[in-house]
């Protein structure tokens, strides 16, 4: 027998212990590190899908024009043309999903309009503003201004 194999027993024992340690570490790591961790970086790749899974509440204006072409026509050329429908009417994904059911309530113009048009020194100087208490305080704004095309002719 050659010299270097004579006392191999303790080497084998150490090697087995070492292999067991590595195996235990790998098994523990496999349990503890979630699926997809490290795929894009130091985080769980599945988190992207988790965030993406949230339901959409605002359908977006593209969904509105399919049915409401009359409003598109009414808004054409007006100063309110480029405002998203849901800026005033609220989130409408339920309305779209129900194919016209779940009708939204009509906004109260005395509440809605001043949010944008109440006079304030913080607003840009060129933005159209009124002092709400003085500007025809009794009736709804829509008595004179059409909401979709507000300029009075």
């Amino acid at each position: 027998m050659s010299g270097w194999l004579r006392d191999k027993a303790h080497l084998v024992r150490m090697a087995v212990l070492f292999a067991l340690g590595i195996a235990a570490f790998l098994a523990f790591r496999a349990v503890m590190v979630p699926e997809g961790f490290g795929r894009y970086g130091h985080y769980r790749a599945g988190a992207l899908d988790d965030v993406r899974a949230r339901p959409v509440r605002y359908a977006g204006r593209a969904a509105c024009v399919d049915c409401h072409s009359d409003v598109v026509a009414a808004r054409h050329g007006s100063r309110h043309e480029r405002i998203g429908c849901e800026a005033c009417h609220g989130p409408l994904m339920a309305h779209v999903a129900a194919q016209g059911g779940e009708k939204p309530t009509r906004p109260d113009s005395r509440v809605l309009c001043p949010r944008c048009h109440a006079a304030s020194p913080w607003k840009p100087k060129t933005y159209p503003q009124v002092v709400v208490a003085e500007h025809s305080p009794d009736g709804p704004c829509t008595a004179c201004h059409k909401a979709h095309a507000p300029k009075m002719s």
Partner: protein, 254 residues
């Protein structure tokens, strides 16, 4: 001789084909669940936003829409986006008077604080989706990260609620959700932008003061805007790589 070469080629060919198919299969195993938006490729996008201070009227639509869309706690102090109101004496940029009652959720209706000698403007704020984000750097467990398409997100199942990121954000854009005790922040409506919609705040902004932009899309209008306006990010000295660009930002804004 000839036979050996043929055998060699056959074996090598088998080896190559099997290795390639095994690696493809392993990729699929690693990928896990199929993506919910199959046509969306994270590598094709790099999201940012432009905010035009000169167009903001402080209506608070963005704040309300954000809370509605993302189920943010309605209590004041929890905001993913909010609007600040600045009053600055022209010769004193160091001491602006800033307030944000309920984050602008109820709009700004009082006129009393007006001052004819000062300048007044609104500043909408949200997560700046930094490319080198301090909040990501401090997270001890990898629960928050910059996604491959440039959005800073939180992994709610992984977050410990240790609050390091809340302290680290130089813009104050994070909070601890009291219901889950985990960090929460603007996701840039990641569930919307990956489906081709714009964010809830941009969707409801009546003046177009907020515009979502894909910086990797050469046809996106954001490039024209950035070229034609003198824009600035908040706290550029922090070198965070912020991707929310402000047009008309006053020097007093912090």
């Amino acid at each position: 001789m000839n036979n050996e070469r043929r055998q060699f080629l056959r074996e090598t060919g088998k080896f190559l084909v099997l290795t390639a198919s095994a690696s493809v299969a392993w990729e699929a195993v690693l990928a896990g669940r199929p993506e919910t938006a199959p046509n969306y490729k994270t590598a094709d996008h790099w999201w940012g936003m432009v905010i035009d201070i000169e167009s903001c009227i402080g209506c608070g639509n963005c704040v309300r829409a954000c809370k509605e869309e993302n189920d943010v706690p309605r209590t004041p102090t929890y905001f993913r986006t909010w609007v600040e109101r600045y009053r600055v004496e022209p010769d004193d940029l160091e001491h602006p008077a800033v307030d944000s009652p309920n984050g602008g959720f109820d709009g700004f209706n009082d006129r009393a604080a007006a001052d004819p000698t000062a300048k007044h403007f609104f500043v909408p704020k949200l997560c700046n989706h930094c490319a080198h984000s301090p909040c990501v750097q401090v997270c001890p467990v990898g629960a928050t990260f910059e996604s491959p398409d440039g959005v800073v997100l939180v992994d709610k199942t992984y977050c410990l609620g240790c609050r390091y990121c809340v302290q680290a954000c130089p813009y104050g854009c994070r909070f601890i959700d009291p219901r889950t005790n985990t960090a929460d922040k603007c996701t840039l409506c990641y569930h919307r932008i990956t489906k081709g919609l714009t964010t809830a705040c941009c969707e409801t902004c009546p003046t177009g003061a907020r515009q979502l932009g894909d910086l990797k899309d050469p046809k996106d209008a954001i490039h024209t805007f950035l070229r034609e306006h003198h824009v600035l990010v908040l706290k550029p000295q922090m070198a965070t790589g912020a991707k929310v660009y402000y047009n008309g930002l006053d020097g007093s804004v912090r």
